[in-house]
Symmetry: C2
Amino acid sequence: MPDDRKPAFASNITADDVAAEAGVSRWTVNRAFRKDASISPKSLEKVRIVAERLGYVPDLRAASLASDRSNLVALLIDDFANPHKLVMMERLTRILRREGWDILLVNTLDRNDAGHALLNASQRRVDAVILIGIQFDDEVLDTALHARRFRKLIIFARTSRNPNTISIAVDDVHAMREIANYVHERGYRRPLFLAGPRTSSAHLLRKETFVDYWRQHFGSEPETISVAAYDPDLAAGVVETALVNRNKTTLPDILVCENDALAIGATDFIRHKLGLRIPQDIAITGFDDVPQAEGANYRLTTYRQPLTEMTEYLVKVLSNEEERDFDRLFQGRLVIRESA
Amino acid sequence: MPDDRKPAFASNITADDVAAEAGVSRWTVNRAFRKDASISPKSLEKVRIVAERLGYVPDLRAASLASDRSNLVALLIDDFANPHKLVMMERLTRILRREGWDILLVNTLDRNDAGHALLNASQRRVDAVILIGIQFDDEVLDTALHARRFRKLIIFARTSRNPNTISIAVDDVHAMREIANYVHERGYRRPLFLAGPRTSSAHLLRKETFVDYWRQHFGSEPETISVAAYDPDLAAGVVETALVNRNKTTLPDILVCENDALAIGATDFIRHKLGLRIPQDIAITGFDDVPQAEGANYRLTTYRQPLTEMTEYLVKVLSNEEERDFDRLFQGRLVIRESA
DNA sequence: GCAAGTTTTGCTCACGGGAGCAATAGGCAT
DNA sequence: ATGCCTATTGCTCCCGTGAGCAAAACTTGC
């Protein structure tokens, strides 16, 4: 067998090579690969064929450099413990790629690292930065906006009060009212709200909404506890210190969790350490509708965010150059299963 | 409040601007940002200060274009249902960034899409492509190697027989022997092996190893069934058709699963649909040691891959320009919990 | 067949930085 | 001060493409 089975390392084939071979100019070759370029069908086909044969593909680095548009967005994530992130990444990568956007994935380790992460994005001259994480508080956002040049800073699946960012999220108030209403109507009367970290002002809204609802309808403050991170194991620990040594009458009848990650940790603890049944002894609700929530084990009553819709809107925001983009809230829907 | 709170959209500040301000040449400015450049400490500091003030950061597109090294690697993933992917991504993004590599995340929808995904990577002129998925069979790899120009094609966490790729994986044979041996020694005698899709020859090794072990020690073929994808729900379905209508004596005493995703689906089904206990009625083992495997709910006996070590080796492979890189197998370790 | 209008094509001039070499400055012994 | 060696600095020439305009080619109506 001859050598041609070896990988073609193709010492950079450039538009010039294709042009020479196809008998046209370099610019015609490039036009053959640009969406909105004016080129005759004849030369288009001629160029495409030669390019295919030679294995030519345009160099997006150069294109980006010359056109000042990279078609690249940075995706900053800092919370890999939450399975919902995997769902969001799947949706984002799939839809963005379909629309011609490439994704630079940046792991933002912690709050102090946000600056470095943004620097990374900045050096690649991304067209936008998408944040899907929890540590991005207002202070971080401010430094980001001041220090680096980003055309767009998009907070995905989280609300932000910062006027210079674009936030695409579910309507937490509406959602949590729906949950609270469901809890109320189903007859639960001793709820315990399991909240996430208190550092970020972002998700506070869910807790506040629930507390408000309860106060309004019963005149009393529901019990709330808070976990230092959206981590099932930490949630279990917090639930433990809150529930241990209580007797049946003082035990909550439902755990309203800020998201599924917490709900899952709480479920595991209640079942396997306390030996209680769900929902008979304690009911549970979550938020996000992660894949496991549907599984036979959890059957979690939760709230589904319309991720596809949200991502489609994100795409619009990305392509929209002229007008100012606006924050937008989406309506999800309550998914009722057996856990509550 | 004055206007200076508005984000600095910084009409491209370039090395020339910094040079003028700092009283040096453009090249000296660039040298201040290159690791191995020769520059006096005095001008380095001068440039750094001015750059900081002006908000200048070098443009990696231009640098990449001129130097023919992008410091960018593409990460192709096609299986977002498996939580292990999230762990792998966390490890890869963290360590690669620390070593100066940026990551282009590409969602490879299915086998037919692999070509397009690779094209994407090719257009950004990545220095390497890392595959962490299951659909990348030998045929796909071959076309990838022939059609596009990739310096390195790395198969991560999966073995590959293709001589033109670099595979970094755990030693499946060693690992599965260890599992089989454990199953054997704990006295299980009616194992059922739950395998993944049969299309890819890659993970076949685990099943073959287990079957060989059993044949060798008992002279009989263990029962095996196969799931069309590494998806907990599908696993539940397959287990259902395999176990339904069996009585206690013909039921397997242990389910040996090709990975944790399958094990989790099987566990849920066995517990909640069959109403059996784990491990008393049926024991279960997995592979990967995903975060949930440790939780109170599953307590899954499984096999942990040394992901950090593997990623460190990956980094070495990436930086190694000269010599030919070699495939490498790593030893993980059996993690024994209560599920078997 | 010809003028006017419409495509299509080629060209100049960037985009922002790296390689590699030539020029300059600084350090040291004599 | 001189000569020699070395650490810095500046410069030329790319890297591979896009924007926008001018030249060329093709249409159309008469």
